[in-house]
Symmetry: C2
DNA sequence: TCCGCCTTGTATCAAATGTTACAAACGACA
DNA sequence: TGTCGTTTGTAACATTTGATACAAGGCGGA
């Protein structure tokens, strides 16, 4: 049986209590699959024709590059869904190969049935729309960053965004390591640029705390 | 009144004929707005609380950088929707400022009403889901490209993708100029890298035609 | 055929970043 | 307090790319 307590904590089904969920799933032809550790869930390129939700355990997405080497992309623990953004759209194929990290229970909801759910329940509809929209928004943001030419520009954009109209002092929410990865650059290169901006008197860097000293020149950085 | 003939050609409403649309819109509290040329439609940062569809004419999205300079991002002609991916999600604010190119008619459907439409009609629901999902998929693809460090890697990935399992000869669908822009690099840099790969005997370049001579070394390029 | 335009090939120099390595500062914990 | 592991600061050198300029090749129209 499906554990509706867990399901109600899944991003797609939040806002519904287990009783309501049980009602919605009463006559729904969906399927729970149990797999051992290190089992193959789906291969990259397979058509994505069901919404798959991890009910217990955890799986990982892996990509195979052209050389056959596999790289881990991300972990997906319960109770998250798999590849929600690839259930619809022109290329509705799994972009990654999915392998189990632990023994898992997976809930498969066929696309058609999921569509019915979306039409039946306003919560599920908005949850799902919010979820894939947020992903689009995140990716758009990410592309903006990757499009800046220099690290100085990325830093300026990031800090100005973080500061908003508020104080001139900002606390970085990420370690330099993670920030560097987010920017798509190496960690020493990021530290160097931060150091340079500090020496030029534009900002003052103290580990994770950054004070904006010259907002005008910060803006100037962005025009290249 | 709304021209349902045009609306039926909009990505969100394809698959429905004008009569069906008229039925759906019968008691729908939506609004048609007429604007002159060069009028402001929405400012960047405004909350996105209605789905806006261009019924006639054309608008453009512009971004203002921190210096006040505006850059045109894209044109949106009738009958396309505006910022469909920003109606839902955590950051449902317009990412760009929208200005009219010509006199236009704009259809505003409040978010709540649009939700009702999605629940009422299966076509609209799948159209909309496909539309924003496709965008996510496009952006994911784009990020993969921007994440490659060197131009050689981008070229290798691009050409291997283009060639698939087929012949060893490939015709570039874009000019070098456009390809360079897609890669986010300058045109001479792209030409240089192509030339180098040619000199190394990995590929053979003849203007837009490219022959893969050494598939093994092409693959090697991708592991860095 | 000749001319002009657009695309592609090539060169040079400067700027930015990657790579690698190591030191310093901080935090948690015994 | 001292030690260990993690995060951050810095340095030197090699690569890669951007900027800019110009030449060469293809293509269509006069």
């Amino acid at each position: 049986m499906i554990d509706f307590e867990i399901l109600s904590k899944s991003p797609v089904f939040t806002g519904l209590n287990p009783v309501q969920l049980a009602g919605l799933f009463k006559d729904l032809p969906c399927q729970v699959r149990r797999l051992d550790k290190n089992a193959l869930v789906v291969s990259a390129g397979e058509e994505c024709s069901s919404l798959i939700i991890v009910l217990s355990g955890s799986v990982k997405g892996e990509m195979t590059d052209y050389t056959g080497k596999t790289i881990k992309i991300e972990d997906i623990p319960a109770p998250r869904p798999l590849a929600a953004a690839f259930l619809f759209g022109k290329n509705n194929y799994f972009p990654v190969t999915v392998i189990t990290n632990t023994p898992v229970e997976l809930l498969h909801i066929p696309k058609i049935e999921f569509l019915k759910l979306l039409q039946k329940d306003r919560h599920i509809l908005t949850n799902y729309l919010n979820s894939i929209s947020s992903r689009t928004q995140f990716l758009s943001q990410r592309i903006r960053f990757l499009s800046f030419r220099t690290i100085r520009q990325k830093i300026a954009h990031y800090i100005l965004d973080l500061a908003g109209n508020k104080l001139s002092s900002v606390e970085l929410p990420l370690s330099q390591e993670d920030l560097a990865e987010f920017f798509g650059v190496t960690r020493p290169a990021l530290a160097r640029s931060l150091g340079e901006l500090g020496q030029e008197g534009i900002i003052e860097v103290n580990r994770r705390t950054i004070r904006i000293l010259d907002k005008q020149r910060m803006n100037d950085l962005l025009r290249g």
